[in-house]
Amino acid sequence: HSGLSKDLSSILNDADDFNVIIQVGVKNNIKEYRAHSVILRARSAYFKSALSTDWITKKNGMILYNKPNITPTIFDILLKYIYTGELDLKEYQDEDILELLVASDELLLEELFDHVQDY
């Protein structure tokens, strides 16, 4: 089980076969993430629609996606959760956790939302 999430997090961190570039944040606090549309769509109803052929814009074969209203700090947690299913809320500050709650609601990550809310 831990082996699986370890491998999955390595897909997130070291992969060379990503096909989505997600730009997160605004102004000075911007970060680009590389990810796999197949994983995002499988794990999240939001991304299933957002990354469907009806909506995507591509550049050089890469899907480009902007998510300005979420900060890189929060998106880090989200992405890690999406890939591995793992999350340790103790590591984070209260205000981050509140932001995480809001973001998981917007992105319809219901399990995550419930988990954070209980916390």
Binding site: Y46, A50, W55, N66, K67
Partner: protein, 778 residues
């Protein structure tokens, strides 16, 4: 719907200028605009992220209902435009809808094509709208208990397009669909994809009040109604124009077409309904007409053995309730009719020949009986074949055919005798030209006829008589075949019947052993040897059907009387306490006759021998009168006449009769025919062969049967009462019938008489309290 009442055009937000409202208005304007772009197929310029976030924010700020209603308004507005700009212009030309088929068909097809496009566009857009409003679906729609946005889209499509209040879209749609189906029924090629698209659309839409599909509520009933009418008219037309086989092929084709149609573009739920309609209109309503079609209906099919057509009718008519019943009763009636015709040829034959029944004429022998049985067997074969090849061996049909056979076979009162004669015929000359297997299969079939006989006891009586003659006259060809037949009868009638038959066989075997012993006895004995070879068959009187209790009158020649005496002494010496009576009416003799041309060995009956020996003492040309022969031989009159007939009037004329003629009359003179010639050295003078009984004999047989039935009935009553001790009248009658019906059908009056006889003889008594109840008296 509340949104309908709002003015068309932009949604007007409430006039309460605060920043939240302004924010909402701004967001909503952008979202509404985006939905319009989606409708214009311009989605590529839109950002999912923004639109989603927009809607998300609105719901988050408790503006879910405004958003929801706004979306409803925008979609409705769009669909109204679609109706006006796309659907209405595609309406097929009205007025021409029923007469000009082809142009109208094309117009209709185009209409369906437009509708298909409109529907596909709508569902595609709704999927995209659903994407960006996902948050609204998950959070708002759930708590507000309103349909998800995609379903809202379906409802709006239903109300704005399919069931538009403003334009007669629904009428056109239904009319075109029905028109297309009608065209296809009339062998036009239609574009099924367009029809299917519209049908699928109707299947996806739900009727709000019934919760059923719009297909079911709006289309299906109309489809079924028009189909009913269509096939009602077609049925009337087809029965008028086609013969039965063609009619059935058309119906088959129609059923197949409708099934295919449902499979290709209607709902499976319609399949049994449309099938019922075709079956009702094309089969049920014309059952009798088709069955009774003059030169092509059921009877002509049977007459001409049209197995394919019969099979088709069986399959087709089996689909409807009364179908097989009608067929069954028509076929059964036909069997009865054919059976009646077979019976009639026989009765007309026998009455015509009744006058000279004893003359030995071929027609009066067993041939009438054999022909009757053969014709019945042929009929049976024919219907077995029909049963096998066309009716899937349907048990219900078999039962009804059997009843028909039973009916006409029992209409012929001579059938038990005929069947026995037929078996007799086969066992006598069966092997000539037929293999043993063939004989066996004929006998097997005969057994099936035997089963149809109601009066099995009458058959048994005849069978015993015929078997006795076969055995005693050595006419049976194969012992195996005889025993095989007895085996078959044992299965049908039980052992009490066959033990007697087996007893007859036993007597034959023991007699042959006895004769070997007798010859040995003579060789060793000091007695004078008889001047003739005597062969004796000793019959046990209870096994054999004839009355053996006394010797018939006949003056035997002295040598024979002496030889008989020698055998009698030998036999009684071995079996004391037995009584032998000589049956001179059944024996045969081999005698040598010297004629002018040559000597012949004559095989004759004992009676004939007695008659011929009288001429030994006569000079050439000296004649004997009928009265002289009768007086000297003492042979009973009927037997004497028959034997004289065989000698003087049949194929070999050993005696010459004056005056000539077929009948023997008092005063006739007989001469030995010295001029007799025949190609063969050995001649068999036919004793009168087994034949259909004369009226007198029949009456006698009948009386014997009645007598036997009395005993069997009494035996059954006593058996039952001994077991039950006391029983009510009707129950007793029912039980007696049950026990006896395998042999004959006893009538209640007969049973009642027997009960009374048993009361008289004090086997039974009436109960003191209730005269309808009997007690058994031990």
């Amino acid at each position: 719907m509340s949104s309908r009442k709002q003015p068309k055009g932009k949604i007007r937000p409430p006039k309460k200028p605060n920043s939240a409202d302004a924010q909402f208005n701004d967001n909503w304007d952008r979202l509404a605009q985006a939905i319009r772009e989606i409708h214009k197929k311009n989605a590529s310029i839109l950002s999912f992220e923004e639109l989603y976030r927009n809607a998300y924010n609105m719901v988050l700020h408790k503006n879910g209902d405004k958003l929801y209603n706004g979306v409803r308004e925008v979609i409705t507005q769009h669909l109204e435009e679609v109706a006006v700009s796309q659907v209405v212009p595609a309406f097929p030309l009205s007025g021409a809808s029923s007469s000009q088929t082809n142009p109208n068909g094309a117009g209709g097809a185009n209409f369906l094509k437009v509708l298909k496009t409109v529907w596909e566009d709508h569902t595609t857009c709704m999927l995209m709208i659903r994407d960006i409003l996902m948050y609204m679906d998950r959070v708002y729609a759930k708590t507000a208990n309103v349909p998800l946005v995609y379903d809202l889209g379906l409802d709006l499509f239903r109300d704005t397009i399919v069931r538009s209040q403003n334009y007669p879209i629904q009428n056109h749609l239904l009319e075109v669909l029905l028109q297309q189906i009608k065209l296809e029924r009339e062998n036009e090629i239609i574009d099924r994809t367009n029809v299917k698209a519209s049908i699928d659309m109707l299947l996806e839409l739900t009727d709000a009040s019934t919760k059923d599909t719009v297909y079911a509520t709006d289309f299906e009933n109309k489809f079924l109604e028009t189909s009913s009418e269509y096939y009602r008219v077609e049925g009337q037309m087809l029965v008028g124009e086609y013969d039965a086989p063609e009619y059935m092929k058309k119906v088959d084709k129609r059923l197949n077409e409708e099934e295919q149609r449902v499979r290709h573009y209607l709902s499976q739920t319609t399949e049994p309904k449309i099938r019922n309609i075709v079956e009702e209109e094309l089969i049920s309503k014309h059952l009798k007409t088709v069955i009774e079609m003059e030169n092509s209906g059921l009877i002509p099919m049977l007459r001409n053995e049209k197995m394919d057509d019969l099979g088709r009718m069986y399959k087709l008519f089996g689909r409807v309730v009364k179908g097989h019943d009608e067929m069954k009763s028509a076929i059964s009636d036909y069997i009865r009719e054919l059976g009646k015709a077979i019976n009639e040829t026989v009765t007309s034959n026998t009455t015509a020949e009744g006058g000279n029944a004893a003359s030995g004429d071929k027609q009066t022998g067993a041939t009438v009986a054999v022909r009757w049985v053969q014709e019945v067997l042929d009929l049976k074969d024919k219907f077995d074949k029909v049963q096998n090849l066309a009716l899937s061996n349907d048990k219900a049909f078999q039962t009804s055919f059997n009843e028909a056979f039973e009916y006409f076979i029992n209409k012929n009162s001579k059938s038990p005798e005929f069947i026995s004669l037929f078996i007799d015929d086969n066992l006598k000359k069966g092997l000539k030209g037929k293999t043993e297997e063939e004989v066996d299969s004929v006998l097997d079939k005969t057994i099936t006829l035997f089963r149809f006989i109601g009066e099995k006891d009458v058959f048994e009586r005849y069978y015993k008589q015929h078997l006795a003659k076969r055995l005693l006259l050595g006419r049976s060809v194969s012992d195996d075949a005889e025993r095989g037949m007895i085996g078959k009868l044992k299965v049908e009638c039980g052992y009490q019947f066959t033990t007697k038959l087996e007893g007859m066989f036993n007597d034959m075997r023991i007699s042959s052993d006895t004769m070997t012993d007798f010859k040995e006895y003579l060789d060793k004995s000091v007695l004078e040897k008889p001047k003739l070879d005597l062969s004796v068959t000793v019959l046990t009187s209870t096994f054999w059907p004839m009355n053996l209790s006394a010797s018939p009158r006949c003056n035997l020649p002295p040598e024979l009387t002496k030889a008989c005496g020698t055998f009698q002494n030998f036999y009684l010496g071995r079996h004391s306490g037995r009584r032998l009576t000589w049956q001179s009416n059944m024996g045969t003799a081999d005698i040598r006759g010297s004629f002018k041309a040559r000597k012949h060995e004559l095989n004759v009956s004992t009676y004939q021998m007695v008659i011929l020996l009288m001429f030994n003492d006569k000079q050439d040309g000296e004649s004997l009168s009928y009265e002289q022969i009768k007086g000297e031989s003492d042979i009973p009159e009927a037997d004497l006449k028959r034997n004289l007939q065989s000698l003087a009037c049949a194929k070999y004329k050993i005696l010459v009769k004056e005056p000539k003629g077929k009948e023997i009359n008092p005063g006739d003179q007989f001469n030995f025919n010295n001029d007799f010639t025949a190609p063969l050295q050995r001649i068999k003078i036919q004793t009168v062969a087994s034949k259909v009984e004369s009226e007198g004999e029949r009456k006698e047989t009948r009386e014997k049967v009645e007598e036997a039935r009395k005993h069997q009935t009494e035996a059954a009553i006593v058996r039952i009462m001994k077991d039950r001790k006391t029983m009510e009248h009707n129950l007793l009658i029912a039980e007696v019938v049950k026990q006896l019906q395998s042999r004959f059908m006893p009538n209640p009056a007969l049973i009642k008489k027997r009960i009374e006889a048993l009361i008289e003889r004090e086997y039974l008594e009436r109960a003191t309290g209730d005269r309808r109840v009997y007690n058994y008296l031990a």
